[in-house]
Structure formats: C-alpha cells, structure tokens
C-alpha cells in the first residue's frame, strides 16, 4: 500500500518528461542516427543517397580541410573578439551606469536582435563595400582597402551579430557583484586595475564562460554570415554542407561532414567544460 503514492508520483514524473522525450527521440536521436547511417552510403548516380557500406566519405574529409580550418580558426577568434568588445560594455552597464538609465541601455542592447539578422548583415555589405568605410578611409589617405568578402568582414559580422548574446550573461554575473567588495578592495589600498583583476574578473568569469560557449556554438554552425559577408569565398563548414546537399547533391558525403562537425563540437565542448567550467561557481552559472 505504501508504494501506491510513490508509483503515482513516478507516473506523474514520466508524464511530465514524456513529451520532451518524444521530441528528443524523433527529432534529434532518430535524425542523427539516420545521418550516421547515410554517412556510410554512396552517392546515387543523379545525386542523393544510395545504400552501401563504405568508409570513403570519411576518407574524403580532407577535401573539405580548408572549410574545417576556416571554421575552427574564425569561430574561436570571433568568440574571443566578441568577449573583448562585450566585456567593457557589460562592465559599464553593471557597475558604472546609473540605475535609472541601466534598464533602457540594456534594452537597447537587445533591440537589434529584433531586426532581421539578414537585413543587418545586408546593411554591413553596404558599409564594408567600397562605397562605404573604404571610401571614407580613402579621404584619410588609406587607399584601396578591401574589407568585404574577406575573413575580416566575417569577424566584424560575428562581433556585431553576437555581441548582445555575450553582453547579457556577463552583465548578469557582474550585476550580482557586491559593490561593497569593490569599495573594500579600494579601501585596502588596491589600485583599480588590481581590484579588477582580483575581485571583478573572477566573479564575472561564469558569465564570460556562458556567453563564449553560446557564441562559439552558433559560430561553428554559421552559414549566413560567411555567405553574405564572405562573398562565397570565406567558407565555413556550414557552407560546405549546404553546397553538398543543394549543389553537388552528395548526401552521404554531406552526412559524413555533418557527423564530423558534431563530433568536433562534442569533443571541444566536453573538454571546455572539463577545464573551464570545472570550477563549481562557473558551472552553476553556465547552466543559465
């Protein structure tokens, strides 16, 4: 008799997680399994998938080496730059801005997110094109500067597109910072740089870790950004994948590239969590 409420409670738990479980099974596990199966197949004559068992698609991965290289260098670099640009702003908002204007300023960071990302990148095509910034720089004597369709344009786009995603978590972790700590540190004679290094920075690391992970994940899978600001020249794995499915129609190879991408991300993130998020406080905040 005593087990009745317990089993009822179990049934409730099962009911609560069942819908999510179904979604995960049918839209995540099943598709990924299908992709893995396809990655061992062969390309049908007119394109698409033909059943087979071959490792050729994996052996062929070096043919997309440059795309992997671009992604694996530009995604971390973009993440780093975004942290560098976002941090001072988050610090300003959390510590220096007056409480009255703080909400407004925060909202202003989020608002760009509400205009089509595609349109904002389109605007950057204009700004970075030769009628934009390069033509102004020409007045200053810096002639013939090319930005658009270079890795630099992609990096600018990355910082621009993901800055809000980075500012918010850093802001949240800095906001919790007790200002009295800063005063105490100052009272103890620490200069402001030392206070920052020994008090503020460690406290804000969880936010930095969360933001970096988010931005890194999104950058690793980018398609739009390299397509629009890289002019089809700066190629990410995302672009290679879209081409494999929508131009070469080589589904099995595309499946192999997808599997490799997911594997790389998996390893990177597990390692990242091991080393960066191993501190208890960081992990808790990183879950937000």
């Amino acid at each position: 008799m005593a087990s009745a409420p317990a089993s009822r409670s179990k049934a409730v738990t099962a009911l609560l997680v069942a819908p999510a479980g179904l979604f995960f099974f049918f839209l995540l596990v099943l598709p990924l399994v299908v992709v893995i199966i396809y990655s061992f197949g062969a390309r049908a004559d007119a394109g698409g998938y033909a059943p087979a068992f071959t490792l050729e698609n994996y052996a062929n991965l070096p043919a997309r080496g440059q795309a992997f290289f671009n992604t694996l260098t530009l995604a971390p670099l973009g993440t780093l730059l975004t942290v560098l640009f976002a941090y001072p702003l988050a610090y300003f908002l959390a510590v220096k801005a007056s409480p009255n204007s703080r909400t407004l300023l925060l909202v202003l960071v989020i608002v760009p997110f509400w205009t089509s990302q595609l349109l904002r990148y389109y605007a950057w095509i204009m700004i970075l094109g030769s009628k934009g910034i390069p033509s102004w720089l020409a007045y200053l004597g810096i002639a013939d500067l090319r930005i658009i369709n270079t890795p630099w344009a992609v990096l600018i786009g990355a910082v621009y597109g993901f800055l809000p995603l980075m500012v918010l978590p850093i802001y949240v972790s800095l906001e919790k910072l007790d200002k009295r700590l800063l005063e105490a540190s100052a009272d103890l004679g620490a200069d402001s740089w030392r206070t920052f290094r020994q008090v503020t920075l460690p406290l804000s690391l969880p936010g930095v870790a969360t933001g970096s992970m988010l931005v890194f994940i999104l950058l690793m899978g980018e398609y739009i950004l390299p397509q629009l600001l890289g002019g089809g020249k700066v190629f990410f794995i995302g672009n290679a994948l879209v081409d494999l499915f929508l131009q070469s129609r080589n589904w099995p190879f595309g499946a192999a590239v997808s599997t490799a991408l997911v594997a790389i991300m998996f390893v990177t993130i597990v390692v990242y969590m091991r080393f960066v998020l191993s501190r208890g406080d960081v992990r808790r905040a990183a879950l937000v």
Binding site: A63, R64, S130, D243, R249
Partner: protein, 382 residues
C-alpha cells in the same frame, strides 16, 4: 444542305458592309456569315478571343523559380492584375541547385526555368510533366528558331518551351579595366594579376569550370579527368584573387566593388544600358551558348496558374516587353518583330557570327558528373 448555310464571298462582303453601317446587329452578322460558330470553335485556341472566365478559375499564388534579373516586374504585375494570381519569384544561382531542391521534394514550385542541357535529366528522373500544349495557345513551334529549341522536346513530346537564349561571356568595367581583354586566357590571367580582388565568377560549375577549361582551349563541356584537373588548378590559383563567387554579380559591378565578371547576355545588356562603360566580351576561344525553358514540376501545386503564366509570358507582345526588360534575345520570331531595331542590332544580344561559331551548348553529362560537382565544391571551400 440549305443554301443559306453557304456564304459566297460577295454575300459575305455585303453582310460585312451592312454590319459596319449598323443596319444589322452583330448577332445577325455572325449568324449569317457562320463566323459565330467559327468564333466558338477557335475561341479556345485563339488567345485574344478566349473567354475571360478561363482566368476566373485561377486563384492563389504561382511560384516562379528563375534566375536573377530575368523578368519584367511590370509584366508579372500585369499578370496578377489580369488573373488575380500573385507571382512569387525565387531566384537561383545554378541548375544544380534547382535540381537538388526539386529532388528533395515538395518545393511548391509551379513554373521553373531550366537550361537546355538539364531537361533530359529532369525527364529521366520523372520530375517534370509533359506539357499540355492546348493550355499554351501562345506557343507556336513554327515561329521558334529550331537551332535553339530542340532540347525541350524529347522523343516527340514537349517537356519544356523556350524562354530565350543567350551566351556566357564576361563583362568589364572599361573605366577600370584598360587591358581590353578578348579571350578567356586574358580573363584568368588578368584575374591572377592586375585585377586581383576585382573579379567575380559564377557560383555555378558549368560556367566557372567550363570557362577555366577554355583557358587551355579544351571543350567547355569536357569531362576528361586530366583536363578537369588542369582547370581546377587554374581555379584554385585564381581563387585568392577573386572578389566573390556569386551568380548575382550585378550589384557588385554596379557599385564598383567588382570590375570584371563572368556574365550572361541579359545582365550585360542591363549593365551596359545603365552604365555605358560596361562592355560585354565573348571569349574568342568560345564558351557557352544556351537556351532557357519554362517547365512545370510534376508536383506543382497550382498547374492551372502555371500554364496561364507561361502562356502569358509567351504572348508575343508580352514576350517582346520581357526581352526589352531583361535583354536576352527571344527564340520566337513573332516577339522579335515587336522588339525595337536597336535591340536587334545590339551586338551584346546578337554577337558577330564568327564569335558564335566557337560556342557550345552545355551537355547533359556535365550536370550529373560527380567530379565536376566535387571540383566546384573544392574550389569554393579552398
């Protein structure tokens, strides 16, 4: 047989005069001359006489999948006004992309614009319908230029009707490009040299690989592994010097970011019309000549509207307006009669015969050749 059913020419003219003077009604005139019956029979075939209610049955939207800068918006608006069917236009950069989307299924396209060499593949994969020519009264095979229009018909069945034809050359902005290139050899050499960072090639294996093959004097359609390897090497050497790889090159040419680009006839017409310094060159080694067609996917959701749109666009008057807007020469003699003479004399649309003779139509095998697809992908991801 009663006499009054047969009408002599004399009597016909008399009746016509009486009708014109207003002494008999239209109904009487049509009745006695037998034209009423003829009108009813011909009505379904002659577009001008077709009852308007044929359009009344149409509704919704028609999805037109096509290439950039390829239609007159005014014509499409007029179609919408006349039929109530809104035209939703998608643009693509390559035939491969079109094929891939159609192969993946449920695209929702009603009309699309494949190029000559792809039609047999679409038919082979059972992706397109044989066309019901009764629903295309404005298509007249006898006025088509047969040099360009044979590939739409397979084993006597029409699967696609021609839209227009053109060539693939390159465009140069003569304000910036003073070297006066005339050949694909010069095109690629300038790309790697003095024009570094200012040249665009198509995001399209057929023309990009094909014109790299031309650098060595090989066939535009070559599927020979050794020749393709040489072309790939050239493309990879040129890649760091390119401004972009994009089939929609007009915006970059117009704003001065790019100075030279692989280019189709119509884009050249449009660019030259607005900016006279833009000059079109057909490589003297040759290159591509092609015809684009209208076709209807097997799974098109709104086939009635699809036929109506194709038929509308093939109406000689409308077609002539299309030609003036997009600047590609029509394959239809009736439309050509309505196009201004200046256009018929324009060497961009109608290049000199000696340049045309070197050009090749794309070959079906290039579309499905996995090596070509892979070379293009390697080039882009390099």
């Amino acid at each position: 047989m009663s006499d009054d059913k047969i009408i002599t020419p004399q009597k016909f003219m008399d009746e016509l005069r009486r009708f014109q003077k207003g002494s008999v009604t239209r109904r009487h005139f049509l009745g006695v001359t037998g034209l009423g019956l003829a009108t009813a029979v011909l009505g379904s075939a002659v577009p001008g006489l077709r009852p308007r209610k044929a359009y009344a049955a149409l509704s919704g939207t028609v999805n037109l999948t096509t290439w950039p800068n390829y239609h007159s918006q005014e014509n499409l608006d007029a179609f919408t006004k006349k039929t109530g069917v809104a035209v939703n236009m998608n643009v693509f950069g390559s035939n491969e992309e079109m094929l891939a989307k159609l192969q993946a299924g449920s695209t929702g396209w009603d009309v699309f614009v494949p190029t000559n060499y792809t039609i047999s593949t679409y038919k082979g994969l059972d992706l397109i319908d044989a066309l019901d020519l009764k629903q295309l009264p404005n298509y007249d095979v006898s006025t088509q230029d047969q040099r360009f229009t044979s590939e739409g018909t397979i084993d006597g069945t029409v699967y696609a009707v021609p839209k227009d034809w053109g060539t693939t050359g390159f465009i140069i902005n003569t304000k910036n490009v003073t070297q006066n290139p005339k050949s694909w050899k010069e095109f690629w050499d300038l790309t790697k040299g003095p024009l570094t960072g200012r040249v665009m090639v198509h995001d399209y294996q057929l023309t990009t690989i094909g014109n790299a093959l031309k650098y060595f004097g090989y066939s535009f359609n070559s599927n020979d592994e050794k020749q393709l390897a040489e072309a790939e090497k050239l493309m990879l050497e040129a890649k760091p010097h390119l401004f972009a790889i994009n089939s929609d090159y007009q915006p970059s040419m117009r704003n001065g970011d790019a100075w030279m680009s692989v280019c189709w006839t119509g884009d050249a017409t449009q660019l030259h019309r607005d900016l006279p310094e833009m000059q079109y060159v057909i490589g003297k080694e040759g290159g591509e000549i092609w015809t684009d067609y209208y076709a209807i996917p097997k799974v098109a959701p709104n086939k009635e509207a699809a036929y109506a749109l194709i038929d509308w666009l093939l109406t000689p008057e409308i077609n002539a307006k299309e030609v003036q807007a997009h600047g590609y020469p029509s394959t239809d003699a009736r439309a050509n009669k309505l196009v201004p003479k200046a256009m018929l004399d324009n060497p961009i649309l109608y290049p000199a015969q000696d340049l045309l003779t070197n050009l090749e139509f794309g070959a079906a095998a290039t579309l499905t050749n996995p090596l070509r697809a892979e070379i293009m992908a390697r080039f882009k991801s390099a």
